[in-house]
Symmetry: C2
Subunit: 220 residues, 2 copies
Amino acid sequence: MYCQPVPRTADPDVRLRLVERAAAMLAARETVTLRSLVEGTGASTMAVYTHFGGMPGLWRAVRQEGFTRLHERLARVPRTADPVHDVAALAVAYAANALDSPALYRAMFDAVADLEDPAGADRGLALLVAAAARARDEGRLAPAADPSAVATRLWVAGHGLLSLVVQGVLPADVVPAHSVETAVALLTAAGDDPGACRASVARAWALGSGADTGSVGTGE
Amino acid sequence: MYCQPVPRTADPDVRLRLVERAAAMLAARETVTLRSLVEGTGASTMAVYTHFGGMPGLWRAVRQEGFTRLHERLARVPRTADPVHDVAALAVAYAANALDSPALYRAMFDAVADLEDPAGADRGLALLVAAAARARDEGRLAPAADPSAVATRLWVAGHGLLSLVVQGVLPADVVPAHSVETAVALLTAAGDDPGACRASVARAWALGSGADTGSVGTGE
DNA sequence: AAGCATTGCATAGCAATGCCATGTATTGTC
DNA sequence: GACAATACATGGCATTGCTATGCAATGCTT
């Protein structure tokens, strides 16, 4: 294969280009191989080795990019006067992110224990923990409720649902109803009033479909 | 590589041998390649193609075997007078199965939509649905509760937890506590009495650690 | 019982993959 | 302006999944 002699200085950031191209190929359902990845970028296969040390390193960077995008999306969720609504809104954004790029979501959790910056993946969860803590502090959850535990349960349940949807086991249209029921169960168990809880959670999902946080249900 | 001229008749079942060897290699954390798989079985690489059509077919058979073993384990869970306890006992067996062979569990859900017999994977869930239906019929859950929906929520949450544990994101020792809290929340939301529900679920997990259904907590 | 098609597999070789040794061009520094 | 360091292109290597070919054993047919 011939690579045009692109000037050295015109090299904004090969790392970024390669990671984004890998993510784009994932989204396009193309198989990402070393050679198919560099094809079209004007780079040779060695670029992958100088920047990532090999294909495992590239995948690590791709997963990191996935968690970065997830965090950015979660951070865009506005804070309202209803903390339980905000907890659910974070779940909506999480689901929308996964359904918008299911292949990337799969790749993220393919070897999620192997990341460049493991703390980066925790930052998203931290937003959920903070929202849960606010719900407790404002009296919606029981004073003894552990925000970290509640957030973890929500995240674990959401991940289970989305990983199964992303793999085609469950259809995408079950996500809202399933999420609402599970979230209401977990948050009610944490002390919230059942009726108020359902209202808050349902409102987040109703708003989520079509809002700028990304619509849920247009996945795959 | 030399393969001893084993007599043709002495061929109990190459399919079974290959699938079991693949599962054993997964458990031993060895990478399963076409050649490393057949090595030691006295078979050549062609056996994989005559029986499975290729490596994807082998993996399909391995996943099927995983779901078969899971179903056998779930079917061994005895039925007691407490249907909510039985629901939780199925969850205990499910978790024990996953933690006993984490690599197989990962492989099962690696492409779970691609199975020889998709209905085989549903048979395990059917046991959980039946237990939930009994809990409703015996008055533990609300009459309007949908056993299928309740079972699915339990399974989805359990899968989320176990897939994260199996990948090293969460430690295995959080499984019992997390499972109890989530199951109590979901079953209480379905209508069970909070106190009775917690007692039933906690008893199942207390018995599960060390019973012949397989101990939970000795994973990896 | 002899011929013959079928089945199951061993051998060997192919294309593609990830990886790396080597050489080379560009950049920054003194 | 020489020099070291960096970044990358080239080419080749081992391994992977796969398959074309041939052979041996089995079972059916007559």
